[in-house]
Symmetry: C2
Subunit: 256 residues, 2 copies
């Protein structure tokens, strides 16, 4: 399918290498074949370093994969997903159903602008996950200090923010700008790395940010250990060893 | 340039994304822009887990990058490089000079068949590094148990073998076959992971193999620590933290 929404062009194509692929404004977003590498890594590091994540906000993530991984955690009571584009959700429900956990009663889907939502809502969250497109088009406002301050505002004390932060190999400036802006808002900011073959970008990065001083992002609190063991039984890439390893910083990124 | 040798077609092309790229038989081999990600990772894990590597054999590696990284270790007295194709060496000396340490007097270059070399030589080595092309064409014989037995034969007691072992995401069968064959020959076999953007293959793998029971591949012996610190000052990707992290095994590869 190929359709234009109010915000962007949404396409689904079938490929030999990646199976079905979601393409937005001509950019590969996610695929059947490698979506777990992205979604497991944007979700579980934040979820397991929080001792008891009950209330989670996902901004973007219209394909459903991020919410699906969040909902694997039995501590979660509500997962609020704020996606700007109803067409992405509709298209993925129909054409990429394995990505979503759409029937989970804990999922609260809102078709709204995430930027406005974090500026105005009275709700508070243990975890906020930003699963947006690249910083062009509708997602542009999701990559700056002012947005991060509003994310900080809606986090409960001790909450954790996780986001995709682009590939530092081909986009070092974008990667660097995200880290610098986050560091103005959060006491601890730690990028971590993995691989998303669909993006053909070398190492991909996500970033973990929090004001919590009692946690390090590569170490689980004791209260999370049992939950992590259970999650590990269903994930295909992520595990506790990968989690710890992902925070190792390549030498050339140390100066960033 | 584009020339056909007795063995293969050797080309160098200039690209926007990767700078100058070496292409052999139509397959991207290495590039100015990301060669360090490959060469640092094929060399340093084996070199620093050996307490005192003096004699090193590189099989293949005609672009010079692997030997250059080996020669960063001051313990090395000789680095023997056995490359089958003189044209690769000539072309890279001329067009990719930053990859080589061709003038180092410890480098002994032999234009010979590596398979025959490990079958017949009386020399013995602390480290053997296999830096070959993919298992098609002239490198086919570098990916089987019989070749690995000859590598084992030329290793000194306690020696370590390191090799590139393909991308497990797109080539799970090749990756698996390499691990299984190595396990028939070496007491310890440990794959490790990184990213080589040029290969567009998701995570890339290398493998560390040895009969040493007193070492684990993710831990440095105390005698290597000072050397590792010095190497870390010149590498752009590899460092001790990355080394340890690289051996974390994704869940879907645990069953391999």
């Amino acid at each position: 399918m190929s359709r234009q929404s109010e915000f962007q062009k949404v396409e689904l194509i079938d490929t030999v290498q990646f199976g079905r692929v979601l393409v937005i404004d001509g950019v590969f977003m996610t695929s059947e074949r490698d979506e777990h590498l992205y979604h497991e890594m944007i979700v579980h590091p934040a979820m397991v370093t929080h001792p008891n994540p009950q209330s989670v906000l996902v901004i973007g993530g219209g394909d459903g994969g991020t919410a699906r991984e969040v909902l694997r955690h039995p501590t979660v009571q509500t997962c609020t997903m704020v996606e700007i584009d109803a067409l992405v959700v509709e298209a993925c429900k129909l054409h990429l159903p394995s990505l979503g956990a759409w029937d989970d009663p804990r999922l609260q889907l809102r078709i709204e602008d995430g930027i406005q939502f974090v500026r105005e809502t009275d709700a508070r969250f243990d975890i906020v996950i930003l699963d947006g497109t690249d910083p062009q088009g509708p997602a542009e406002g999701l990559f700056n200090e002012s947005f991060y301050r509003n994310v900080h505002r809606v986090l409960r004390s001790g909450g954790i923010f996780a986001l995709q932060s682009e590939g530092p190999f081909f986009f070092p400036e974008v990667f660097r700008a995200i880290q610098v802006s986050l560091a103005k808002v959060f006491a601890q900011v730690a990028p971590y790395f993995g691989s998303v073959p669909l993006y053909s970008a070398g190492p991909w990065s996500w970033t973990w940010a929090s004001d919590r001083q009692d946690l390090t992002p590569s170490t689980l609190p004791a209260t999370s250990e049992k939950r992590a063991v259970e999650i590990e039984k269903v994930t295909r890439y992520w595990n506790r060893e990968i989690q710890k390893a992902a925070f190792a910083l390549p030498s050339e990124l140390r100066k960033v």
